[in-house]
Symmetry: C2
Subunit: 469 residues, 2 copies
Amino acid sequence: MSQKPVLTLQTNDFPQWYQEVIAKAEMAENGPARGTMIIKPWGYAIWESIQNELDQRIKDTGHSNVYFPLLIPNSFLQKEAKHVEGFSPEVAVVTHGGGNKLGEPLVVRPTSETVIGDAMSRWIQSHRDLPLLLNQWANVVRWEMRPRLFLRTSEFLWQEGHTAHATKEEAVEETLRMHNVYDDLMRKVLAIPTVLGQKTERERFPGADATFTLEGMMRDTKALQMGTSHYLGTNFSEAFQIDFATPENERRLCHTTSWGVSTRVIGGLIMTHGDDYGLRLPPAVAPVQAVVLAIRPETVPESAALTEELKAAGIRAQLDSDTHTPFGRRAVQWELKGVPVRFELGPRDLKQGVVTFVRRDQKHEGQEKQTIPLAGAGQAVVEILPQIHTALYEQALARREANTHNVKEIGEIEGRGFFRAPWSAIGSAGETKLAEKAYSVRCLVHPEGQVPVELTPENDLIAYIAKAY
Amino acid sequence: MSQKPVLTLQTNDFPQWYQEVIAKAEMAENGPARGTMIIKPWGYAIWESIQNELDQRIKDTGHSNVYFPLLIPNSFLQKEAKHVEGFSPEVAVVTHGGGNKLGEPLVVRPTSETVIGDAMSRWIQSHRDLPLLLNQWANVVRWEMRPRLFLRTSEFLWQEGHTAHATKEEAVEETLRMHNVYDDLMRKVLAIPTVLGQKTERERFPGADATFTLEGMMRDTKALQMGTSHYLGTNFSEAFQIDFATPENERRLCHTTSWGVSTRVIGGLIMTHGDDYGLRLPPAVAPVQAVVLAIRPETVPESAALTEELKAAGIRAQLDSDTHTPFGRRAVQWELKGVPVRFELGPRDLKQGVVTFVRRDQKHEGQEKQTIPLAGAGQAVVEILPQIHTALYEQALARREANTHNVKEIGEIEGRGFFRAPWSAIGSAGETKLAEKAYSVRCLVHPEGQVPVELTPENDLIAYIAKAY
């Protein structure tokens, strides 16, 4: 079946493709207030899967979920100098409540280091109260001048972890632990390979001593920051007096961390795996992992039976028995939505005891349609889903490798892709020059790929440079 | 062991008891901005259990989760007359964002009928788009003059369902379906008996044609509204032009509903089951269902083994091996936290192959401590947890029945409890008089207890009257 793409081709206009696929796959749309987003059922179900997977990992590493207030006294944000500088231009301010002008304006949280730091200063008294390992799932608001669905919205959803420790070593260890938890999520759940590294001073979180990041390469070869983990040193402890008594009864400042992953990763998911025919969802986050299309009314009963068989095998399966709608249009819609596996059951298949089986990840590799025996088709999917996950990951990794270039100096940085350059050849001055060409240093890594814990000048680090979202 | 209560006695000062138990069980505390709340790990874990149980029921009844923006243009709230009247005095208003004064102020959502109604008007075109069954988990802000943790906080967490239907019949059916889902949650998860009925016109949700409510009786015999479901008629459809084409291609207005349960139910949970020794948690929402206290260091290994046995049996179990802290203080703390089952394992128990077993729900009925064989103790808990649930429910029901009085007229309404009076003897005028005495009509029911779908004068209804939170 030759098929006309229903989307603008990625190579023609990637941002336009992105907008269209979000609309046509019914993921999200703009809210009425500028920069806000309505997440529709298909998009929200993906977020729920990400939440479940990440929440389990956060709990498994010893953190407790909590909930802190949305509205924060303006004075709280003023307490840490770099933090106020970083966030003041972005905040939404509540000036009126209950019909009256407020004595002190309240800020809609752009992040919660301040309000949680204030509580930590009360909750932590002794070394026995440490480490304190908290996390919350929440919405935050940061005013966006150039909003874009999922990637930059004035309000977004995320988890933010906040922890306090007795020593720098423990806090850095925690920061790197969560950095690795995020990497696990990216690889095993989202099938997204990322470059793990540390941000430069210029790109650091406001108030952090070190920021670790995971940078994914999108299909247009631009970078997207998928998650960050911050070692905050004693900056917030000083600002909010978060201290503890040692066993020897000396007062010491805590070392704190924070780390977050947001609905932005859904943008990364779309732009890492999506193709000219729509989304391609990794099975772990696909709201429907396998759809069964009854081609004709007379094949609905067997299609329903196969759907039940799939469900019994633990697969999120859905029957499409809408035989009044032309078959081609239905197939296109499920492709747009990125469902990993599609069954098509027609009368001829049924007579032969087979079913047509389509892998979304193989579309237009010429091998996506197969005919397999109807008996046992449900079990076959159980084995194929992990293969689809791996295939998506490998495709993304191969694309990144093909588009990563080793360079020696700024002059060579031109055009598409990631550029690996010696950090010693770039430096802060180089970053400023790169910014003029719309490039930025995404992160610094050791030459062999490890994450550098310290940014000492002796370390001969590699800078990853790219245009970014 | 004779034990001095660590809390103010409920009979001495119930509001004081409430504050103390929330603080000492580490459930929540006040946030820095007036009326806001910090939900601590123990409180939030309870909320997570409630969310999981309710979310499953919402999905099982065909609803999809979505997420709509926190910030709503002020003009949206103005579109439905009763809605604006009900919510205007309560809203928090964002006037500045991104460093600038906004052209139109944004309201922090007090509820989302308006912004969701606006989307429904775009999403619904044809009868084929109906019913539209949405739900979201979100935070909302309503300015509170007399805040109280969980019961009335300026920000609270909830789910809000929003649905649109072709006919009044279907919309009313949906409203009652969710009313019953809430009842199922109250009975089977929270072990709270409630009176199900319809609100009077005076007590209705702003913009609703009918509001159905579940009213629980707290231990001080005051009423608490545990959840509400609203049939909104065509009020929001008219305001937001939510209409559809019938099969005959006529335009018709949709009939919409909304329904919500919030973190307020945690307040209800505390005040329904808690006693002078602390919380008493129904097993379904207890973050820890069984705790194992090692009395002495030498019983830690067997205590740990029992904890693992409990976990293997699917029970949320925790080991308390903190033998440096006096045993009595630890027992008191677990009682405060309301853990349903407590094991105490001392050297003498161990020698005899037994373990002491304490049911929190039987505290001070003189039968709470038993000695049972250590072997198979884990499995015993599996059977006992449902009994604890039932016991809590039955106690609450018996207390409500003992404190419910049938009366004929307003003059008889005095003192504690629920009063059942013929609605024909009260009426709107009676409601005003009752309000002067701080009583309100909590809901109207049929004499046999069914929920009245219509409030026609012919219906000989019973009014439930009480003081309320």
